[in-house]
Amino acid sequence: KQWYQRRVRGHSQTHSSCFQNIYLAGKSITEKAVNRIVNGDTILIFKKSQLILHILLEAKAQNKEFKVVVVDSRPDLSGVSSCERLTAAGIPCSYVYINSSTYIMKKVTKVMLAADALLANGYVLGPVGTAMMGLIANTYNKPVIVCCETYKFCERVQTDSILYNELADPDSMLKTLNAEESPVAGWRESPNTRLVNLVYDTTPPALVSIVITEIAELPCSSAPVVLRRGAVKM
């Protein structure tokens, strides 16, 4: 944040609109989201997101009393660094893997998810596992809050997670926390074995309660309206 502030000091029009769209957008979303956090909440977050962590740290700075459940998944396990930042700020944390998400979902009061993109048909593109969290939260009737800046809104439409996705390094799935080697470690030699490490998945709009953006708090179906408004402005 400080680096960016130094860069944009005294600038051309394009620079300050970047500043607005990226940095100030994050600030605006934080204000709106922190208003939704009340004392006694147990908030579930999925893996690591700068924006969601910023929201939680800001809520703590405003002396709200709440707990956080961090749901993590393999192979990247980025939820661990979320836990580290939250405990450093003094927020009580729980940590589970995504397999146990039905086990802890009863005690959660709200679910806050970050998006990598919001597609024009309302689908939320996020790190793989986001859709599962949305589904489980819906089944247990917990509100699902997606935080997304408007620069992440996209004209593409997609109904499933397979047609357009990214594959990360499959060998990272072989990492185990104990010293034993995985039984599929020799997967490249075997013609029948494949490891697939998806990066993104799409969450259907029916599973999302609200999307918080810097201009407003919207339902997922308003995504094309925001895109049109952005196009008119340009």
Binding site: R74, C83, N99, S100, V128, P183, V184, T193, L195
Partner: protein
């Protein structure tokens, strides 16, 4: 969760909800059983307490039958009522209240049902379907003396052993009815039954299997290695990707640890969310399990001590990150409750059944007085002779 060894007996006895207090058998039991059998019974109890993760339920079930057969032959009893009292007294000594002993409890219930049936004699089996049999106390002294009754019981136990022996082959022979060519099947973690089911299907059909790696134990990797060694094209995905790919899958075939009385499952951790994703996309979920896993108990509490078991988090977060361990509450439950409305079909050794039919099978396999093994039913309490 403790790993048991002989010095931890005192700790173990408090864990199993007080069903044995002093780690010694009830004196009533010691009166009725000869010394060498007692040592075998104690050995079996020790075997159960060493709850190894990799222990195959089939092996422990066969061991159980052999131990109880031994008990029936050598104990001092004259009527069936006395025999049942001895067996239930021994069950109080076993650590049966731990969540992973349901297969042993179920087999003990089968044996008790065999004893009650043989005692009631051949005419009572016709009433097995009637309401009268439910309320009738079938503990009246039968015409058979001990040796005849014992022979009948042992013959039935041999039939039970044959049934247990053939249960897996009966299940896997149905593979071709449920797998068609060019299908994509999703499975979760590791199960010996499912592995053999799919390998049997591979002999005649060509299909693909996607395996969820089932963290944090990563049993799915072992399953994928075994399936691809058997010639099936296997893909390993992370559990979080299940929702992403499930719409492209034809069916989900999973194994389970226990089947509850209403058709719900106690399965590996992570199966519930997989079943929920399958329901969302209307992908059928098929469970393959032998009937000794069918337990006449219902879910009464989500409490980890009552239903689930929470194990150590070393596979989730390395102990080298000790600073974080001390500040964060880490949960690693071993089992998952899957409600019966998420399951389409059960494939058991007696054929395919809908979850709504299981109550009928329970009434055939077990007697209502044995549903709660800790409970010494009133009619079996007073000694006849």
């Amino acid at each position: 969760h403790q790993h048991d060894h002989q010095h931890a007996e005192a700790v173990v006895s408090t864990q199993s909800t007080g069903s044995f207090k002093n780690h010694e058998m009830d004196p009533f039991l010691l009166k009725k059983i000869p010394k060498d059998t007692v040592s075998r019974l104690e050995e079996f109890a020790l075997y159960l307490r060493e709850s190894k993760k990799e222990r195959r339920s089939y092996v422990s079930v066969v061991k159980t039958v052999n131990v109880f057969r031994d008990l029936i032959c050598t104990a001092d009893w004259v009527t069936a009522r006395e025999l049942i009292k001895i067996i239930k007294c021994y069950c109080k000594y076993l650590p049966l209240s731990q969540s992973n002993e349901t297969d042993v409890s179920n087999v003990v219930r089968r044996i008790l049902k065999i004893i009650r049936e043989e005692n009631a004699g051949p005419e009572a089996t016709n009433l097995a379907d009637g309401i009268s049999a439910f309320f009738k106390s079938d503990m009246k002294p039968s015409n058979l003396g001990r040796s005849d009754l014992q022979d009948n019981i042992l013959n039935s136990i041999v039939e039970l052993l044959v049934e247990l022996d053939t249960s897996k082959s009966n299940i896997i022979n149905m593979a071709l009815e449920h797998i068609h060519s060019n299908e994509r099947i999703l499975t979760y973690g590791h199960s010996n039954t499912i592995r053999d089911f799919l390998l049997h299907g591979r002999r005649a059909r060509d299909f693909e299997v996607i395996v969820c790696e089932s963290g944090p134990s990563l049993q799915g990797h072992r399953m994928a290695a075994e399936l691809s060694a058997g010639g099936i094209k296997t893909t390993v995905i992370a559990d979080s990707a299940a929702f992403a790919i499930i719409h492209a899958v034809n069916k989900v075939i999973i194994g389970t640890h226990t089947i509850m009385a209403d058709g719900a499952l106690r399965a590996a951790n992570g199966v519930h969310q997989l079943a929920m994703a399958a329901k969302y996309f209307s992908v059928p979920v098929i469970v393959c399990a032998a009937l000794y896993k069918l337990s006449p108990t219902h879910l009464c509490s989500y409490d980890p001590d009552a239903f689930n078991k929470v194990i150590g988090p070393e596979n989730m977060l390395n102990f080298s990150n000790a600073k974080l361990h001390s500040k964060v509450l880490i949960s690693n439950p071993d089992f998952d409750y899957v409600p019966s409305d998420l399951i389409e079909l059960f494939i058991t050794n007696t054929g395919g059944h809908a979850p709504s039919y299981l109550y009928r099978i329970i009434s055939e396999l077990y007697h209502p007085d044995d549903y709660d093994l800790d409970n010494m039913c009133v009619e079996t309490v007073d000694d006849e002779l």
